[in-house]
Symmetry: C2
Subunit: 405 residues, 2 copies
């Protein structure tokens, strides 16, 4: 069950002027399930995104990147679940292009103005005909107040829909930011996550929007992992419609970036809280390193260790496993006698071994919590990094041993 | 349950002249369990080893490396289970030295002539007094025909004891090689595995013995992974007593190396077949790469993917997960259109997608097997690498969520 995570209420999700969303049940993998989403954008909108670095990146990722560079302006995004259209070769590229062409025809724009996204099983042909057949339903359904249904339409193994809205005051006007995301397994984003869409009605030039989405991803989706598997389909998109009348400039960019990053962080953490089989939400902070890269390397080693993750599942303070993971993280000149390990506020290890003050019952108490922070002080610099992850339970195996059935 | 692996029969394990083994029930973690092993070597023996690269390497690993460099000749090895004496700081170093001193006193040699080894839970103080109290029982028990009991005495979460003997003819004489190993979880050796001991009665100078153990480890223990966790205590030791009267030279070194590597490979594969919760034994071959390093990097990415491992557990040919793992392995200039993926003899993917000839029932048939080979052709060179691993089951979680209880 998701860890301290409930679905957003529909009324909490604020429309973003300039954005309309339409949902359909296209029967892509199973019937009677929202599995197709069309997002229509006002003409003046800018769109930027970051995508997976997986070499087997999906056909829609390749096509979306192409269409972004064409520069005609993006008028629509189309997302299907039930099939990732990844590992599908030339046939998959044709299917992604056909999807864009069909959406373009429905909305009276060019195919290059449509960005396609897919998520689901890998290496199976995308049933384009089902998507095309479902489009009229999605287009008829287009409306601004549809973010809640949209967040449901992009779910796969997710238990809880992920969505959040924020409003900020800028230049005396109100700017809205609403975002949705999906993801639960195959989560180890490298540039972005499974699928995330954030829209604002501020006006942001394309180049700045690209910097903004990169920075937001680095502070959020690029800090999470469920199972260390980097998806073929990761994409985080940031949309700016400009309908609020507020234009982003040097004077207000930091405020806007902070709000975008905050929305991205809520969504990224929600993905971990809804991680496949998760029963604990674990924050791993590595501090006092020489650079952020080595801090992140160590944080990910701890976050990916099946032994650490199963100990958290069992609420067992078998914390030597964390030391072992720090030790094999690949930072080869690490002086282990300078390292301090904390579990929340409890000092667990120092001087290369268990702290004299450590008592098993203190470790056991923290391990019972649903939210736990592992803090590692490396004692060799001032850099730091953070990674959010979850534990490893029977249900992770169950979910992934039966995903296709 | 172990995958096609049964315990060796005691009679199959051949004594190695010059080596005696003694076992005790020292009650280190639990009572009534063989948990202490002493190996006594004839004076002319040479010993070489490879050890974990984990920065939190255990105190006994540090002490064993020290004692090997002293160069007085090694006369005994002492192994305890139930406690890893890792992450134990200065106190742990003192405990490892005290263990060596006690063994030295029992066997009338110097402490620097004893190599200590520990395996078990990390970051708990080693109960030296229990080891010292158990030593008389182990020493009284010393005999050449004791490899079977020795293989049991070093087990922790292992279900099946791992041991094998081989004999080869050299210069008209018989040379015996017998090896034992333990390990089931925290298996991703980096230089060696959890614990392995191989002895021969050939005569091998120290420097050559060191090359020989390194080469054997690279072809065996350094090709296996269960969970990607590199232990703090890995060690593979190779002992040469010389009692056969056969001396290794340039003329017969290749034959000896082949026999040693064969024994090491049997033991390494046994560890995977007895991997925690294993139901499948999976061989991952990556071929036609630019160099062995990139082949191994890709093989390990596939072997470590929880999604791939749970698909094997489910016998579900959800083989797109293998493509995803190849894609995120970190070989950034990989041309996925040149890659071919085979499951045993079934061509699964080529030209960036599913092979036209692939039929789901063929994949499903292979996935039902207990032994499966995943073969990846990269199509960009002639290097190759192999990794052996197992699947990821409910029982892995169960075993590791309850290890200390």
């Amino acid at each position: 069950m998701p860890v301290k995570l409930s679905a957003p209420a529909a009324v909490e999700l604020l429309p973003v002027p300039g954005v309309e969303l339409g949902i359909a049940e296209a029967g892509i993998k199973k019937p009677n399930r929202k599995d197709l989403l069309v997002i229509r954008l006002d003409a003046q909108s800018t769109v930027a995104g970051v995508f997976t670095l997986n070499r087997f990146c999906a056909a829609p990722v390749t096509v979306a990147k192409e269409h972004l560079t064409v520069g005609k302006g993006i008028r629509a995004l189309v997302v299907n679940t039930g099939n990732a259209n990844a590992g599908t070769g030339e046939q998959g590229m044709a299917a992604a292009r056909a999807t864009c062409a069909a959406v373009a025809k429905s909305l009276d724009c060019a195919a290059e103005q449509v960005l396609p996204f897919s998520t689901g099983v890998i290496m199976e042909p995308l049933p384009v005909e089902k998507i095309v057949a479902g489009l009229p339903q999605a287009v008829a359904n287009l409306k601004a107040d549809n973010w809640f249904d949209a967040s449901q339409a992009i779910m796969t193994t997710d238990i809880v829909a992920k969505a959040v809205s924020r409003q900020i005051k800028m230049e005396g006007k109100t700017v809205t930011i609403t975002g949705i995301a999906k993801g639960s397994g195959m989560i180890h984003p490298n540039m972005a996550t499974m699928l995330g869409y954030i829209a604002t009605d501020a006006s942001v030039p394309q180049a700045q929007l690209q910097q903004m989405v990169k920075q937001a991803a680095d502070a959020s989706f690029n800090c999470i992992t469920v199972d260390g598997d980097t998806s073929t389909n990761d994409a985080l998109m940031l949309i700016a419609t400009g309908n609020s009348g507020v234009t982003i400039s040097d004077a207000n960019r930091a405020q806007m970036q902070a709000a975008i990053s905050a929305v991205a962080t809520v969504l990224a953490q929600a993905i971990v809280r809804d991680g496949e089989g998760a029963t604990k939400f674990i924050t791993i902070k590595v501090e006092d390193g020489r650079d952020a890269a080595e801090c992140k390397q160590i944080a990910y080693a701890v976050a990916h260790s099946p032994l650490v993750k199963t100990a958290f599942f069992a609420s067992d303070p078998n914390l030597g496993r964390i030391l072992a993971a720090i030790g094999y993280a690949g930072v080869n000149d690490l002086d282990v006698t300078r390292i301090k390990l904390y579990l929340d506020d409890v000092l667990v290890a120092e001087n290369g071994g268990r702290a004299a003050s450590y008592r098993e019952e203190d470790g056991a108490r923290v391990m019972q919590q649903e939210d736990i922070t592992v803090r590692v002080e490396l004692g060799r610099g001032s850099a730091e990094a953070i990674v959010w992850t979850c534990d490893f339970s029977y249900d992770y195996v169950k979910i992934n041993a039966s995903y296709r059935s």
